[in-house]
Symmetry: C2
Subunit: 395 residues, 2 copies
C-alpha cells in the first residue's frame, strides 16, 4: 500500500462506510487533463454515483481516474467502476462528439450551467453537448415542459402551444425528446423560431426514440442536445429517471402538461421541488387518466395550476415583472346601472310595451323610482317611450 | 303620529340612515299570524332587503306587515314595499302552494334549514317549499353542484357523474335547475336514486326554464323545490344572483363544474366563501372557455381542485371521516427489485441471449454483482439461464 494515504475523515464524509484510499500525485501524472479524465469517468460511472462525485470533488478527476485505471484506488464501488474499462476510448468519444458539432462541458467551463450544481452530490461529472450556442446562454432563461409519452390530442395541442408561446416570450423550452408531450413542446418551440434543449438518457449521438431523428437534428441546430452519458451509450430504464433531475436543475421551473399517476414527468416535478424550483401544472379533463397525475400535483400543494404561458412566466420570471393578465369576462353595460335602475330594466318584458304601474309591481319599486329609472334607461339607450308605455330597445 | 314609537337607536342599527317608526301592537291585531305575514312580505319585498329583515327581526312579521299595509309604518323603503300591495292574495298563495304539495317554511319551523341563518341580514324571510320530505332532513348532508348554462359535453358528463356519485354516497345534490351543469347534476342525482334540491329564482309553481317541466316534477317528488319567492313570481335577472346565496348557505360546500369567467356559478362560489363554506373546483381543458372561470378559482386560492365525488366528500364531510383514496398508478413488480438488480435487468436486451461480461459492462457493475442479480431475477421469474448465457422471460 506504498504511496497511499488513507484519509479516514474523508472516507467517513464521502463514502458512507466504504474505504477510500487515494494516492498523492501530480494532476498531469498520466498526461491526461481534467476534461479527458471526466470524459473517461462519464463512461465508467453510471449517473448519480455520490461516491464518485465526492471523490472527484476532493481529489480531482485526473487523480481519481488514474488511480482507478491503475488499480491503486481502493473503494468498495471501485470494482463496479472498473467493469467498463474495456470499453474506454476517450479519444474516439471526443472525436465523435466533435464530428457532431459537440463537446464535453465540465464544471469551471464558462458554459457550465450553474443550475446543475444545485444537485450537490447528485450533480453530473460532465455534460456532453451538441449545439453551436453557449449552454449557459441558452439555458439562462429556460423552463422545462414535460409530460406523458402517451399524450392525448389535447395534451399534445397544449404542449405545442405552450412551447411556442414560451419561446415567443423569449424563453428556452427544455424537455426530454420523448414521444408525446416532450416532442410537442420541442416542436412548438421550433415552430415559434425559438430555442429548445433536449436532455437525453443516452449518448448525444444516439437517435432515441428512432422516430425522432429529424426532430433531434433540428433541436441540435436551434438549441442544444445534452447528456451526461458519453457517445454510443444506449438509453436504459434507470437512466430516464436520473436524466429527469438534470431537466429540473437546468431550468427555472418545470411545467407538467399531462401525466398519469405513474408518469416519469411526476418524477421530474419531484426533482424540481427538491431543488426549490417551482412546478406548474396544466389541468385537463378529470375523465382523462393522462391528467390525473397533474391534478394530484395540484391537490397535494406540490404544483401551481397554470392555464397558459403568461401564467407560467409569472411564476418562473423575475419577481414583480412578467405578471400575467388576469382572465376576465367582458364587463357588461348592465353591470354599470345602479341596483334600482337594473331592477326596473329586469322587470320589463323583452318585447312588449309596458306601463309604469306594471313595471313598479313587477320590480317591487315605487312608481317615482321606476320613472326615474326609466329616464336613466332612456338616456343610456336601453329603453324608449312609445305609445302606451315603455319598451326595451334591442341591444 | 299617535301610537308610534320612534326608536332612533333601532333606526341607526337596522335601517342605515332611514327613519323607522313602528307602533306597539298585539301580534294578532289583524288576525294574521306570523306565517301569513311572512307569506305576505315574501310577495311585497324583493329578496335581500336588509332593512325589512332587520325590522322583522326586531318587531315580528305580524306587526311589520300590519303597519305596512295600514300605512302606519314609516321607513324610506316603505313606498317600494307598498308597490305590490295590489297583487297581494296570501290565501290564494298558500292554497296554490298546498295544491302542489307545498308549504311555507318559516324560521322557527322544525324544517327551517339552519344554514340559511348564516346569511345574517341577507337571510330569507321565509322559504316556499315543494316536496314531501322535511327540508332540514333533506339538506342535512348536502352539497351544491353548480356551473355554466352553456356547458360542454365534457362538463355535462362530469356534472351528471358527480351528481350520481354524491348521491350514491348518501349526499343530497343542491342546484339551480338551470340548463347545463345544474340540470345534469339534478339528473345524475335522480338517476342514482338519490335526493336533489332545486333552488329557484321564481315561484316554486313556475316552470323555468320551460324545458325543465319533467325534471322539476321529478325533483319535487324525490327531493324538494325551494324558493324565497311566492307562487307565480317570474324569474328576473337580479333574482338569479340573490338565489345563489341560498344554494351556498343551504349546503356544506359548493362544487363548480364548468364556469366561464363571468358565470353565475362563480357568484355562488363567492357566496360560499363569504359563508366560510368550502368551494371545490373541477378542472377541465385549458382550451375550454367554460373551464377558465373554474381554473381562476383555483389559481386565486378560492377553491380546492377536485376530480371526483370522493374528493368532494373528503372536504365537505366530517373531519377525519370520508377520506378519499389517493389516486395511484399500479405498483410495478420492477419497482420492488433492488437498485443493482434493476440495473442488471435494464442492461439485458429484450430478446437476445446475453453473457455476464456483456451485462456487466452495459450495467456498469462488477461481474459478481451481476451474477448475484441474475440469481435474484431467476428466482423471481424475470430471466432464465440458457445455452450461452441469460435471457429475459416475457412478462
Amino acid at each position: 500500500m506504498d504511496g497511499l494515504i488513507v484519509d479516514s475523515r474523508g472516507a467517513r464524509m464521502l463514502a458512507g462506510g466504504s474505504v477510500v484510499a487515494l494516492p498523492r500525485r501530480p494532476a498531469d501524472d498520466l498526461g491526461v487533463d481534467e476534461r479527458y479524465a471526466r470524459a473517461a469517468l462519464s463512461r465508467l460511472v453510471e449517473p448519480v454515483d455520490k461516491s464518485m462525485v465526492g471523490l472527484v470533488e476532493r481529489y480531482g478527476a485526473v487523480t481519481v481516474f488514474a488511480d482507478l485505471r491503475s488499480g491503486v484506488l481502493q473503494h468498495d464501488r471501485a470494482r463496479h467502476w472498473r467493469a467498463r474499462l474495456g470499453r474506454l476510448d476517450v479519444e474516439e468519444d471526443l472525436r465523435q462528439a466533435a464530428e457532431l458539432g459537440g463537446r464535453l462541458v465540465c464544471p469551471g467551463d464558462a458554459e457550465w450551467p450553474p443550475g446543475v450544481d444545485d444537485l450537490g452530490a447528485r450533480r453530473p461529472l460532465a455534460l456532453w453537448v451538441r449545439g453551436r450556442q453557449s449552454l449557459t446562454e441558452v439555458l439562462a432563461q429556460s423552463v422545462a415542459v414535460v409530460g406523458s409519452r402517451a399524450a392525448t390530442s389535447y395534451g399534445s395541442h397544449v404542449g405545442a402551444e405552450l412551447g411556442a408561446e414560451l419561446c415567443d416570450r423569449g424563453w428556452t423550452v427544455v424537455s426530454g425528446a420523448a414521444y408525446g408531450i416532450d416532442a410537442c413542446a420541442h416542436k412548438g418551440a421550433l415552430a415559434a423560431g425559438g430555442r429548445t434543449v433536449a436532455v437525453l438518457a443516452c449518448g448525444v449521438d444516439v437517435t432515441y426514440p428512432a422516430g425522432h431523428r429529424a426532430l433531434l437534428e433540428r433541436v441540435a441546430e436551434e438549441g442544444a442536445i445534452v447528456s451526461e452519458l458519453p457517445p454510443r451509450e444506449a438509453p436504459m430504464r434507470g437512466r430516464f429517471l436520473v436524466r429527469n433531475r438534470l431537466i429540473a436543475a437546468m431550468t427555472r421551473g418545470t411545467v407538467v402538461v399531462e401525466a398519469s399517476p405513474r408518469s416519469g414527468a411526476l418524477n421530474t416535478a419531484g426533482e424540481a421541488i427538491a431543488l426549490y424550483r417551482p412546478v406548474l401544472a396544466v389541468p385537463g379533463p378529470v375523465t382523462s387518466a393522462m391528467s390525473a397525475g397533474v391534478h394530484q400535483l395540484v391537490r397535494k400543494g406540490m404544483a401551481e395550476l397554470v392555464t397558459n404561458a403568461a401564467e407560467v412566466i409569472e411564476v418562473v420570471g423575475r419577481i414583480g415583472e412578467d405578471l400575467a393578465p388576469e382572465v376576465r369576462g367582458p364587463v357588461r353595460q348592465h353591470d354599470r346601472l345602479g341596483p334600482d335602475v337594473a331592477r326596473v330594466l329586469d322587470a320589463m318584458p323583452v318585447r312588449a310595451v309596458c306601463e309604469v304601474e306594471a313595471i313598479a309591481t313587477r320590480a317591487g319599486l315605487a312608481a317615482d323610482t321606476v320613472l326615474a329609472g326609466l329616464e336613466t334607461l332612456v338616456e343610456q339607450g336601453w329603453v324608449e317611450e312609445v305609445l302606451g308605455g315603455w319598451r326595451r330597445i334591442k341591444k
